[in-house]
Amino acid sequence: MLNAPRATVRDSLSVALTVGAYGLAFGAASVAAGFSVLQSCLLSLLTFTGGSQFAAVGVVAGGGGAASAIAAASLLGIRNGLYGLRMAPVLRVSGWRRVAAAQITIDESTAVAISQEPLGEEAMRAGFWITGFGVFVFWNLFTFAGAVAAHALKNPAAWGLDAAVPAAFLGLLWPRLESRRAQIVAAASFGLALLLTPFVPAGLPIVATAFIAVAGGWRSWA
């Protein structure tokens, strides 16, 4: 890691800082949903995968139960397992290093590592560790700041926090809408969730859209 290419270090740190700053939005959303500052910080330290954390908090904010919140968060966490599959042969670690590597196996660490492929495996490893560790540090610091700030504000709607949460989800969704298939799945899920909302317990409409993902990905098309 010490002889990592300068470009790899630069890429990793800029991603870490930018992504880490989203933690501000998470901390604020989490407290607005009813989690304490401590619980919000623990979600960032232990769960440490932004999409899942936002989903758990989003379901709770919408009045959903614990089971729906956990299910939505866990469905979003499946992709980290696939990232682990991709990274394990590159990292080649065991013992506590493997535990540490697993905890920082997220979108950003994997994406930076893969983007360093032309520079060789050493650069991939450096990109993974620096980005993963960097995001971990900044994400947790900013979560704390966001949680404390939101805690100080009594009415979330007065500060626009209730709109910041769906905007954050949209920001996470947007870059994934490149393919026609993704656009159709997104539109169908958006519609199904609203359609189910008046009729089933809160939280379930979100989890139910996993079936649209399964149906959409079952066959290869467009």
């Binding site: 009813g34 979600l43 139960g65 956990i70 397992g81 990274m87 996470l172 993704a182 969730a193 990905g217």
Partner: protein, 107 residues
């Protein structure tokens, strides 16, 4: 609030355990288990479906009622910001500010 203080802790702890288990599994299971194209396609679409549903529900519902309020304006501004390729923090802040403004003027 549909969740009690105790079950918020359940959410924190169980979500964290499952999140770590999923990450760790990827590092230890044989690669062929999850490498089929179908599993990869579905996995790529899961965040798309769930995030789209979260956008819908968080913007257009209160408990089990469908509503259009200040949050819809915030989301509209977020869409414009994203179309203009604004960075993530700008998108979130623009949505929050416009929603808050409408909330104050409408109430």
């Amino acid at each position: 609030m549909g969740v009690t203080a105790a079950s918020l802790w359940v959410v924190v702890i169980v979500t964290s355990l499952i999140a770590f288990a999923l990450k760790f599994l990827g590092h230890v299971v044989p690669e062929r288990w999850l490498a089929q194209p179908r599993a990869q396609r579905i996995n790529a679409l899961l965040p798309v479906a769930l995030l789209a549903a979260l956008v819908a529900v968080e913007t257009f519902s209160t408990k089990s009622a469908l509503v259009i309020d200040h949050r819809a304006a915030g989301l509209g501004v977020a869409v414009v910001a994203l179309v203009l390729k604004a960075p993530f923090p700008v998108v979130v802040v623009a949505a929050a500010v416009s929603s808050a403004l409408l909330y104050h003027f409408a109430s």
